[in-house]
């Protein structure tokens, strides 16, 4: 429901553009270049990052050179093999033949073939990848540098999907004026070439008739078997051969991303006073080309089509702050910071396509927005045992009207390091004990339109004009707008305890947080006639999220030869919609969301007051005495003798109740072994493929046969039953995310050379009751999900 649920990624002080869909900032950083990766969730800590940090902040610092360090190089490489670990269960050729025959439609039975094709097998493959990276660092008296280049090639498990990426980065530091003036310069660039597999192939692999062959034996339509009409031309309505789509259609893009910043740090002659200026930029460009050949079945009517697309994103950042740190009459320590930040964004995209028939379609769009903030923070510490922080931020966004443009956000935190108190200071049993209480406010403005408050007009393209007499006239459309739109504000309170036992052999934390969001930004249908569109981005209501988090990190073994460290964390989450502005009646079913396939305009979820976000709104299925669902028979919950929408009720939601993680690091002499487990409990998924394709009406449609989901064998549904709760399944899962086994050659060349070889498996296994493709689907609707591969990796690093 909230406008943006992605954490803000800050790389070397430059916040990434969260809307960038080409090479999202995180993937532009080579993992080998990461010095530290810190996740900030604490309200007070994120508050300093302002509006885009509502969902937390990930702070990444890349490695820099060290001063006076010898020239060192690091080379790492790996190769990987990825395989599909699951597939959607549709009928096989025998089951399909039986189902068609039992339908008894002559025209349909006549079309049955004699092959046994597994279409999903035909389109997936084993994916190979490799990554290579070379880094060189050296440090001098007053400067250092770190440079790296990398090359990656990765295939996707769908045939014809792959990308190649070349990257380079440079970090240069220089100190002047006796170390009082520090310059830190970073630049990173990647150039990628991507081949995209045709988007329709995966869906078609589910509906293509398994009794038909992959190839037709002729040279028509690329040699692929296709559904044809009586005159030998491709049937316009039936699915096209998925392998044909992959191999005949092309879509290629070249993506460039450059991110850089210059950070200047100046230590004033006054002790403790520093100034920091950070100037950054982020530039990304995508140029794509696609074509559908005239010789293919899908290009037949248009005589082929070719098209291009181009995107450009550019953002610039200027951050300036002054920091004063003073210790007076030890143990008082005070730290004041005042500053401001300005970030400006520009985005444009354009598409063009032309068919063999000469039909042209083109679009173009460009927009811009900016953010300006002033902030101040005060930190006070007494003897490092008592810490108080206070922050004030004033944020302005170009996305709101001048009346609503500015938001004021306060936050504060206190921390008490109990373990540093006299009575615990020397305790080894309780080595760390810190109590933290915090409160933070942030604002949110990541919304769909940059000018949602202004009435604007959109011109129409040439293929959607209107005609007066003999003249074609391009149209002009006024867009819906909400002049009152304003900041979404979140207030988070949290209380936590950080603990450490046995000299910090065991550490961890326990935390409770509650986040109340008001004026949530989301899309609603405004009352008909009140606006110019039936869909409006506006402030719609209030939301509450809360949870408990527990984590423990233990060094189970710490001997010379054997080290074993385990980290476990568990989170309990709750969310609830506390108010919807547009809906005054608490009994109402709420706002429909969650579009699904299997018809047009259907939704499966709702936002209702008092319920979790995106709760499913479905009928209660009635079963017979053998436990089989009865088609179209639902519980008549309002007792009116009919099955209507009023009998739908809220049943489960896609949000997990518990998230658990376990990671282990083991080191025995030169060997190391790590693994990570992750579990999610209480999240439910709606299997939309089963619900829309698991019925016999889908078998014969518009003159051709189509495959269906094998849930049909259990349900026997003749017609689509999209809203039966039969399709809402518990998707709790336990996954082993990765496991790594490595060996270090430590004493090569008198310790000058470090060589490590390792093997790992990613996405090793999943334990779940969910019978769809993957239980971890964002939003909860399993529709056209790209399967996650299981990847085996072998690599080595050498540092010299």
């Amino acid at each position: 429901m909230s406008a943006n649920n992605n954490p803000l990624i800050v790389i070397d002080g430059v916040p990434m553009d969260q809307e960038a869909d080409n090479a999202p900032g995180l993937s532009s950083v080579n993992p080998n270049d990461i010095e530290s990766f810190v996740i900030l969730k604490d309200a007070s800590a994120t508050a300093i990052y302002g509006s885009r940090a509502s969902a937390g902040v990930i702070l990444i610092t890349t490695k820099t050179g060290h001063r006076n360090a010898p020239l060192r190089a690091d080379f790492s490489t790996w190769v990987s093999v990825g395989t599909r670990e699951n597939q959607v269960s549709v009928l096989d050729a025998d089951q399909f033949t039986a189902a068609i025959q039992s339908q008894g439609i002559e025209n349909s039975i006549a079309l049955l073939g004699e092959n046994d094709t597994d279409w999903q097998d035909e389109i997936y493959r084993t994916a190979i990848g490799t990554d290579n990276n070379l880094t060189v660092t050296q440090g001098f008296d007053n400067s250092s540098f770190r440079a790296s280049v990398g090359y990656t090639y990765q295939e996707g498990i769908v045939k014809t999907d792959d990308f190649t990426r070349k990257s380079g980065s440079l970090n240069y530091r220089h100190n002047l004026f006796n170390d009082t003036f520090k310059i830190n310069f970073n630049i990173r660039g990647t150039v990628s070439d991507k081949n995209n597999a045709d988007e329709g192939a995966r869906g078609n692999s589910l509906t293509m008739d398994p009794t038909q062959p992959v190839y037709s034996g002729t040279t028509q339509y690329g040699g692929f078997w296709e559904w044809l009409d009586a005159d030998g031309t491709p049937n316009a309505q039936s699915p096209k051969n998925p392998l044909g789509l992959l191999e005949q259609n092309n879509s290629v893009e070249s993506i460039q991303r450059y991110i850089g910043n210059v950070k200047l740090d100046y230590d004033f002659p006054v002790e403790g006073l520093k100034a920091n200026l950070n100037l950054g930029f982020d530039y990304g460009q995508t140029d794509g080309y696609w074509d559908v050949p005239a010789t293919s079945a899908s290009g037949f009517d248009d005589l082929g089509t070719t098209g291009t697309w181009n995107n450009l994103r550019r953002s610039t950042l200027a951050d300036f702050y002054v920091n004063y740190l003073h210790e007076f009459e030890k143990p008082h320590k005070i730290d004041i910071m005042v500053g401001y930040s300005y970030q400006d964004f520009y985005r444009e995209n354009a598409t063009y396509q032309i068919s063999g028939q000469g039909a042209i379609r083109e679009t173009e769009f460009a927009t811009t927005n900016s953010l300006l903030s002033y902030f101040t923070r005060l930190n006070y510490a007494y003897d490092n045992r008592y810490l108080v922080t206070f922050t004030y931020r004033r944020d302005g966004s170009s996305r709101f009207s001048p009346d609503n443009r500015w938001g004021n956000f306060f936050s504060g935190a206190v921390a008490w390091s109990i373990a540093d108190e006299a009575f615990l200071r020397d305790s080894e049993t309780i080595s760390t004990l810190k109590l933290r209480i915090g409160y933070g406010e942030t604002g949110q403005q990541e919304i769909g339109s940059d000018f949602g408050y202004l009435p604007v007009y959109t011109p129409g393209q040439n293929n959607v004009r209107y005609q007066f007499g003999n003249r074609f006239i391009n149209t002009l459309r006024p867009e819906g707008y909400d002049s009152e739109i304003k900041w979404e504000e979140s207030a988070t309170s949290n209380i936590g305890i950080d603990y450490g036992f046995l000299n910090d052999r065991i550490t961890g934390s326990l935390e409770y947080y509650i986040r109340k969001t008001t004026d949530v930004l989301s899309t609603v249908s405004p009352p008909a006639g009140s606006n110019l569109s039936n869909s409006l981005f506006t402030n719609i209501g209030d939301l509450e999220n809360s949870g408990f988090e527990f984590s423990v990190n233990a060094d189970i073994f710490q001997t010379d030869n054997f080290v074993w460290n385990v980290n476990f964390n568990a989170t309990y989450l709750q969310n609830e919609i506390t108010r919807l502005n547009a809906v005054e009646d608490p009994e109402s079913p709420g706002l429909a969301v969650g579009g699904i396939r299997g018809g047009v305009g259907n939704t499966i979820q709702t936002q209702q007051v008092g319920q979790a976000q995106f709760s499913y709104l479905v009928y209660k299925q009635v079963y017979d005495s053998d436990g089989n669902p009865l088609q179209g028979v639902y519980e008549d919950l309002n007792g009116d003798g009919q099955w209507t929408d009023l009998d739908k009720r809220i049943y489960k939601n896609p949000n997990p109740d518990y998230l658990l993680g376990l990671s282990s690091y083991m080191n025995y002499k030169n060997w190391d072994f790590n693994f990570v487990f992750r579990a999610s409990l209480g999240n439910y998924t709606y299997n939309n493929i089963a619900s829309s394709e698991g019925n016999s009406t889908s078998l014969f449609f518009n003159g051709t046969n189509r495959n269906i989901h094998d849930s049909y064998l259990d349900t026997g549904f003749g017609e689509v039953q999209l809203w039966s709760d039969y399709y809402i399944q518990d998707a709790s899962f336990l996954k082993m995310d990765n496991a790594v086994l490595g060996y270090n050659f430590n004493n090569l060349k008198e310790g000058e050379v470090i060589f490590r070889i390792y093997g790992s498996v990613q996405n090793a296994f999943v334990i779940t009751d969910y019978d769809g493709l993957d239980p971890e689907i964002s939003g909860g609707i399993d529709n056209n999900f790209y399967p996650r591969p299981r990847t085996f990796l072998l690599g080595f690093n050498v540092n010299f």
Binding site: Y340, Y342, V456, N463, Y466, L476, A528, G529, S533, V583
Partner: protein
């Protein structure tokens, strides 16, 4: 030293802060780049016309490019105005049934729809999108706004015309609104754009508004047929007034047939003329093949410039399937959706008995021969005496031969030696070339005869090969006769301008002259004025165009409301009039039965409350001022 350092430091800081903060606050004043603000948009004088193009185009297209949608929440092309209007007006009647499985579309024909029906909701939001466009246009073209922009008098005059036409378009959509939904939210240009709760006005109140709007703009609109094709004129306004008046009893409880007659007469004398052939009205070149003379108001389409998968592209493609050859229809391939029920097919059964009864008294002269029912042995097919020495007969014959004879006796018989229309006593057999219905006349005064194939009603356009008449399975396109009325080819059979056959050129007639003729006859029968002779004359003009000859003409005695109800179906089927007509004749819900009405194969009656579509549940939730229609 310290002081100096502090001063120096503060100096640097102040410098940095002012440099960087100086002009800062206005960096947040951004302007859109490809979209246009109101000021930017109307700097261009052509934008007024472009805005009008969107108002008219709102009926034809779906968004600002092919993938863009004006209405959210339903696939862009399913929310096309003409497509939705067709679905709501035709699928709920005996005239059309669809094979597809999209969401709740079957609920329309089965008349079991609920307030959550996405097609009904999309139509509702489409109507309000149109109304919103017009309201915004009117707000942007007030005298003050135009003066503020420095608009000159010539442009002002043009804009005044636009304003009148925009109000017509708003009245049209409000008419659709009350016809479908009854009491509805009401907004005009005097309301603001925001997120408020519009008032719900009753059907009568909105009816009165439509009436007053149309009367206000009537003098401001151009004379009939004098405006650019595609734009509204006086004729369109008169026709819309006639429509609301003829349905006034349904909308307000008070009949206004006399008022309807006034405007129907205005339309009929507006200079329109029936198009040359019925099927020409629904071809790709119907804006130039003569059909344009009959059109009072149409929605225009073009396969290259006015494209989308709604409108006539939808109706044409969806109606083609089974063994139909898409090339004949000028399209790439059919979508196998729309066909019709047996109830509609039966309306075309040539009622030969009735026609013959209308000829005159039965005589002793008859037809005999291998082409006749009983062959050469008799009994003969007796002819009717239309006047002294003149005889006629509608007869179903097979390929063969005939002769005329008196009283079943070869003693007095006539044939034709030269097959030339002249009779000779005892002449040669007259050949009948093919099976069919013929209209045969005989004149014994000058010994001539005529033999003409009774082509019947050319409005009967069914494709029956591979189709069954009755519908066992509504989801199977081959159940139910297909209809070949809409074709994306010109009068010579050439495909429309889109070579790929994806998008159609056929303009969609919203109002046409034949409709006005039928309305005249109906209003006359309902006591609104006029006379039987004129009414019959108009009906016969329609039927002569349909039959190609006077073979289908009727006598004033045949005029009845039942006849009109059936004739409206024969003339205007699949043009989105049927539901409104059936409701006016009280045959839509609690009376009238056709296959699959009510969701049962033979059809059943449904609750009277079905005469109104429900207000979508999304708006009932969003607007607490609204009361749902009864029965939902």
């Amino acid at each position: 030293m310290l002081n100096k350092k502090i001063k120096f430091s503060l100096g640097i800081i102040t410098l940095m802060l002012t440099l960087l903060l100086g002009s800062c606050e206005d960096v947040l004043d951004k302007e859109p780049i490809t979209e246009l603000t109101s000021e930017q948009a109307f700097e261009n004088e052509e934008s007024y016309e472009q805005f009008m193009a969107k108002i008219y185009g709102g009926l034809a297209i779906n968004g600002q490019d092919l993938d863009d949608a004006d209405i959210q929440g339903i696939d862009g092309h399913f929310s096309n105005y003409v497509r939705l209007y067709y679905n709501l007006q035709e699928l709920s009647t005996e005239e059309a049934i669809i094979a597809w499985n999209d969401g709740t579309i079957h609920d329309l024909h089965n008349q079991v729809w609920t307030p959550a029906n996405e097609f009904i909701a999309a139509m509702y939001y489409r109507i309000y999108f149109q109304i919103g466009l017009v309201n915004q246009f009117l707000r942007e073209t007030t005298e003050d706004k135009l003066d503020g922009r420095g608009v000159d008098d010539a442009l002002k005059a043009k804009i005044a015309e636009f304003r009148a036409e925009a109000r017509f378009m708003r009245a049209l959509s409000y008419w659709h609104g009350i016809d479908f939904f009854g009491a509805i939210p009401f907004v005009t240009e005097d309301d603001v754009v925001g997120n408020f709760f519009p008032e719900q006005k009753s059907r009568t109140e909105v009816f009165t508004f439509i009436e007053s709007e149309l009367k206000d703009i009537e003098p401001l609109l151009m004379a009939p047929r004098s405006n650019e094709l595609g734009r509204a004129d006086k004729g369109a306004a008169w026709m819309l007034l006639a429509k609301i008046y003829i349905n006034a009893e349904v909308y307000t409880g008070t009949a206004r047939y006399a008022d309807a007659m006034t405007y129907i007469n205005n339309v009929i004398s507006g200079g329109y003329a029936l198009g040359p052939k019925y099927n020409y009205l629904f071809l790709a070149d119907n804006e130039s093949n003569g059909s344009q003379n009959e059109s009072i108001f149409s929605v225009r389409f073009d396969g290259i410039n006015i494209t989308g998968w709604g409108g006539t592209t939808y109706i044409t493609h969806a109606a083609v399937g089974g063994t139909m050859d898409p090339n004949i229809f000028g399209i790439d391939g059919g979508w196998g959706g729309l066909r019709t029920t047996s109830t509609f097919v039966e309306k075309f059964e040539a009622d030969l008995t009735g026609l013959n009864d209308g000829l005159g008294a039965l005589s002793d002269w008859g037809l005999v021969g291998s082409a006749t029912t009983n062959g050469w042995d008799g009994p003969d097919m007796e002819m009717y005496e239309t006047s002294t020495d003149n005889y006629a007969l509608y007869a179903t014959l097979v390929a063969g031969e005939i002769k005329f004879r008196f009283d079943e006796d070869w003693g007095n018989n006539y044939g034709s030696d030269n097959n030339d229309g002249n009779l000779q006593p005892g002449g040669a057999n007259i050949p009948i070339p093919a099976d069919g219905v013929y209209f045969i006349t005989m004149n014994l005064g000058n010994l001539t005869y005529t033999l003409s194939p009774f082509s019947g009603d050319t409005r009967e356009m069914f494709h029956i090969d591979g189709q069954s008449l009755e519908i066992e399975n509504p989801f199977d396109f081959s159940n139910g006769y297909a209809i070949t009325k809409w074709r994306n080819v010109d009068v010579n059979g050439n495909r429309g301008v889109d070579g790929s056959g994806t998008f159609c050129d056929i303009d969609f007639p919203v109002f046409r002259l034949a409709d006005a003729y039928l309305m005249y006859a109906e209003v006359f029968l309902r006591g609104g004025g006029g006379d039987a002779g004129t009414a019959t004359g108009y009906i016969n003009m329609i039927r002569e165009r349909a039959y190609g000859n006077a073979g289908g003409n009727i006598n004033p005695g045949a005029l009845s409301l039942e006849f009109i109800m059936a004739e409206r179906s024969r003339e205007l089927y699949w043009e989105s009039h049927r539901r409104t007509d059936l409701i006016r004749f009280n045959q839509f819900s609690e009376n009238g039965v056709w296959p699959w009405k009510g969701g049962v194969i033979q059809g059943t009656t449904t609750a009277k409350t079905r005469d109104l579509y429900p207000i979508p549940s999304a708006d009932i939730i969003a607007n607490p001022n609204l009361t749902q229609n009864p029965g939902y």
